[in-house]
Symmetry: C4
Subunit: 372 residues, 4 copies
């Protein structure tokens, strides 16, 4: 039995984990599994949470907290908190309003949203819904970024970029870690990658049973290469971020080639099992890029204290993935807005208890490494 | 079903853990939870116990134990053992006699007690009960210290200090780690912070749903600062201890500013989850303060061997929190006295088995670090 | 109830672990136990899997994957992938066709097979079945190697080697770690060590209850020695590999004495409990032998990512043991072929996701060590 | 329900763990608990097993095993294997024949036995039973040592030593770690410390409820001191061993004062909880004493591979405690003999698989440290 979403925030939702627990009842089992699962033995998925749990805090006592705030600026735009919504394919799997509910919540909480190539609503409609919500709530239009999966034909990729530019998206996020990915869900009839209508689809899955298998086949030969970054960088004036790198040397090369920002990520543990968490790689990526571009990260962020840990280890901001789907499934737009609000409340409480009145007071000295 | 407290020590109480297990049946579920719980995922709460478990002992064989004793002196006063009762709000939650039962037990066992600002009996009545019990039992009046939570208005804080001085309290313990704290229990009608009657109450909780959230609001702006320590130090001639620091550099600064002692503590894991245990920080605080003032610690002390471990790592004495509530709930004054007696017995047995006849024989050489 | 093998690959087999889980129902309990079990407390058995789990991956982003392949050459022969079938005694325990089904699957997937001295089909029939399958499928004859257990009488050992040479086996694998081994299974009537017909059998088990016990008895006195390697090396022109060493210094000595290859192995955790996994020893063996001969390894290989880890740590190829029995029991030749195909698919997907188009791109830099 | 002991070895006993599991049904619950339990949270008890589990083996391949043996000599006497029976109080708790059954088994297997001060049969009867069994089985009289607990009155201690000398005991083992020990079992009517008849008994337990508690009382004042060792050493010509030291510096001092051997031990985890295992301390004790006297150890030895580990880390021999009680309870003399035989079989198999033909080939190079 699948419960319909609540019209507003239901009682008992005090943490993002409460939404996660509640969401299961609101989703078909195969959709629930699809959202939750990691690849292989789910070691990377588990690491995403475990790597946060290995860190604790060393607070400054008696710090002056007056006039504190969590604000930051990214690519010239103000964000209320160092927290964005990660690109998620097919948000209508979780709620009939899908991306539209999410963009409205993002607007209400002044939170940036990264819209996926595989969104289940057109990127133009999402941007319009954001503008309408901003007007209705008397807020600024939220920062929207467009996440690009390279298409088999370059003109299709370029068409997506041009549409995003025209619709007011403020950055392009090129995801580079998902060209070779385990087979996914069979989509229900009413959900589709509407933004790719009419385009040749890329094969994301190796068909078991064929002979060449993967290497030496069209699938592997089409995987994105450095030249694709150079091409994209030359085609748009928007900031270009790369999503899905983990190594310092790759990060440095990306910046050398013009990347304006990086999202350190293991794709939520959904691609190669055995990848370390983004959190564990932040330090090395940060050292390799030396502050030349903003570093973002995602994977396993579930509480405000997780946000503080990521910032202490070098991130400028974090992205949140699956919790969007959980909150959507439970309570649509109200759920997503509530979830963001809880994260921000926890973030501020953590900062206050740590003696950090502003983001730049958060550094590695505020962290403690647990033993086991 | 909630059992009434036993009139005396019931059978089967051989360790403090037995009182803890038994207490559950004597307490309303929400009060039980309130006493036991830690914040967040309760990692700090767990660490408080785990950090003791990581240490074992290296005994000296064939040591001369003749004439041994656990006595020590703090601020010029004799204590039978290096063991005090930590400040606990609202002890009448656990037993109708609350703080009165506790102070009588403390007197019987010659054990110091730190009375909370949030005591559910007036500090004057508590002091009087101690004096009466001392007379009845022919013991010295026990060392009583007053734990201060800074009040929104400085004159209220000062009034509390003056009352404590007048009532014979021998030290002021300023708790600095609980200004920003998760929402607490709704108190039953018969229990109240009677010592704060007529004072403007400080808001300990951020109200979820408001907009500024925490930073930049009155709550964070009112958190105690270093200037408050200087002010308090200048206002009283009693020794002033700070409770709730974990960092060596903060501890050193506190001593520089005149603190007479420190209680290293993570507030029983009830404030910021992710704090290390006080035990794990002792060594660094001890190094930073270099023996200039006595160091006390609390968090997770449950056996006599825990006391030895804390002393070996640099503490002069330890405080015990929740076990007071457990023993109170099970058997009132008799329970608390029995719990203290068991701790002291275990402490002496451990010292004897370690080959330490006196407290100053307990040092880091007597400890062994377990592997996992 | 023991299920008969399926005629083809049954639904639901997506990993080797699925075959393992399914196999139980197809095997008599004592045969299942015999296949699965390790010696003693099964610590070495557990380590074989745990040592793979301790490693993760550090991928290169945006690598050029065009023209990738998993091919390699061993002793002058092409292998489709760095993956061979380990010698397994008595494969007819798992399926009536036993070794014949396995050699056909090996031929179909162009995978080398190491045939055991304790095969339950004659080595000549196995070789013939391989040739026939190759002709039928229009594939090359697969590389077959013969695994030798030294016999009590040297002329018997030599007779086995001469038969293997005559039947077209391309290498001799001398297993050196199983002379003293816990008592095994009582074989069912229809399964036997047919290749040892007429030979004096070696006693692999110490009889409990006798007095000299093991040391100082014929059993220990007959264990293989270095002189046996020298003798074997002098008697055949085939490459000689040693299977069952773990120490670098022994490996170096073996190479000095003419061994052409080494299979680092703890015999699937079936001999001395407490041995480290082969994976954990690879690095030291590799350093001690300095690339003079190919290193192979076995123990716990269950996924394509395991293969990558072994190669990154110094192996040229890996062998797979128990999964042969699982796939055989579930679906005979089709099962074994499917299992090999899945391993190769996973291997290629892992390489692609790591940014490794060819085997020589796999090195220790591609590995990440997990914390706990 | 308590089962009577079997007349001979029952089926299904393949390891000492099988005897342990079976013994429970043959013992009254409080006796079972008494035998099994450790003090406090039983961390030391658990460490005794865990510290063995942390070690594995690195075997030499192709070693020459001809003419191997486990024999050794201690204080001029031949032992069939590096394995003795630890002193155990009140063996009649486990079996009506108690120490008599044990000494007969020891004789049959040529294994040394250390008889406790708290034996439930007189030391003279035990020695006589050993001589009778030796004659009946045509074996040498087994090496018997006497374990001494110092008595409140020195003349009583001396009387015990003189009786042991007269009865043919070949060494005195002075146990120094059990003067302050948690209260023990109430003995059943038919079991008693018969060797102490008429002597003033030492109080092993602090009485809860008294005021001085432990330090500063007669109990602590009477604990053994270095002077007691010097006194004992001067009173007997038998070798004197100290049992229950863990620190290198204490061990060195004991040897300086004339101790002829040491038994590194934490008393089976029954005294101070938190002590490291003897195995973990062996290396340091061995370094501190530099081979001047034989080192023995006990605590957690349950398999032949445990014996090898202890020897590799510096022990000359090991003692086995609780398994005596388990085997006794299950099958009396036959059980104890079988248990010893199994340990010796496992020891020889482990040595053979390690490539060690004799005890002196067992060194730290043969050990591997597991990761977690
Ligand atoms: C159901 C699902 C769909 C996703 N879709 C996309 C996508 O379309 N594009 C993309 O770059 N990442 C996608 N991701 C990855 C997320 O952007 C993000 O990296 C990851 O979910 C972060 O981890 P978290 O879920 O633990 O917060 C998806 C993740 C999930 C769970
Ligand atoms: C129910 C409860 C009430 C407490 N009230 C106070 C208080 O009023 N003032 C204070 O400084 N600490 C307070 N604490 C913290 C204790 O003083 C002490 O730091 C902590 O309980 C020590 O850990 P333990 O409970 O593991 O012994 C309280 C703790 C608990 C569990
Ligand atoms: C049932 C069984 C039979 C085996 N028979 C042999 C054998 O006859 N000769 C040999 O060298 N190794 C034998 N081995 C060991 C394997 O060749 C191989 O080293 C081991 O199984 C690898 O570990 P894995 O099972 O985890 O892949 C056997 C292993 C098993 C489980
Ligand atoms: C029931 C029991 C009785 C014991 N009695 C004595 C004793 O009388 N004298 C002594 O020195 N040690 C005594 N010990 C300790 C043992 O000699 C030995 O140190 C310990 O049991 C070794 O550990 P194990 O049981 O893990 O082998 C006793 C231990 C147990 C479990």
């Amino acid at each position: 039995m699948t419960l319909p979403p609540h019209p507003g925030v239901p009682p008992g939702m005090a943490t993002l984990a409460d939404y996660e627990a509640a969401a299961r009842a609101h989703l078909e089992p195969e959709i629930w599994r699809h959202i939750q699962e990691g690849s292989g033995a789910e070691r990377s998925l588990a690491e995403n949470r475990a790597s946060f749990a290995r860190w604790g805090f060393l607070p400054r006592a008696l710090a002056d907290l007056r006039g504190g705030s969590t604000e930051l600026s990214l690519f010239g735009r103000r964000h209320a908190a160092p927290l964005l919504l990660a690109p998620m394919a097919y948000q209508r799997l979780a709620h009939p309003e899908g991306e539209l509910a999410v963009v409205r919540a993002a607007t209400a909480l002044e939170t940036g949203m990264v819209v996926s190539t595989l969104a289940s609503v057109t990127i133009e409609e999402i941007a319009a819904a954001g503008r309408d919500a901003a007007a209705a709530l008397d807020r600024p239009v939220p920062p929207l970024w467009f996440q690009l999966y390279l298409q088999p034909d370059r003109q299709d990729s370029l068409a997506l970029v041009r549409r995003a530019e025209a619709a007011g998206y403020e950055a392009i996020v090129l995801t580079v870690d998902a060209a070779i990915k385990p087979a996914g869900l069979t989509l229900p009839a009413e959900v589709d990658a509407v933004n790719l209508a009419g385009m040749r689809r890329i094969r994301q899955t190796a068909t078991p049973g064929t002979s060449g298998i993967i290497l030496g086949t069209a699938l592997a030969d089409a995987a994105p290469r450095w030249a694709d970054l150079e091409w994209l960088r030359s085609e748009t004036r928007l900031p270009v971020l790369l999503k899905g790198m983990l190594l310092g040397e790759d990060a440095a090369r990306a910046v050398d080639l013009g990347a304006d920002g990086l999202i350190v990520s293991n794709h939520g543990g959904r691609v190669l099992d055995g990848l370390p968490s983004a959190l564990d790689m932040l330090d090395a990526v940060s050292a390799a890029t030396g502050g030349r571009v903003p570093l973002l990260m995602d994977g396993g962020v579930r509480t405000g204290s997780d946000v503080v840990k990521a910032l202490a280890l070098g991130a400028s901001a974090v992205l949140v993935g699956r919790p969007q789907m959980h909150a959507l499934a439970v309570a649509g737009m109200a759920g997503v807005a509530h979830a963001i609000h809880m994260l921000r409340t926890e973030l501020e409480a953590t900062m206050a208890q740590l003696g950090c009145a502003r983001l730049d007071a958060i550094g590695p000295d505020r962290l403690w490494r647990f033993e086991q």
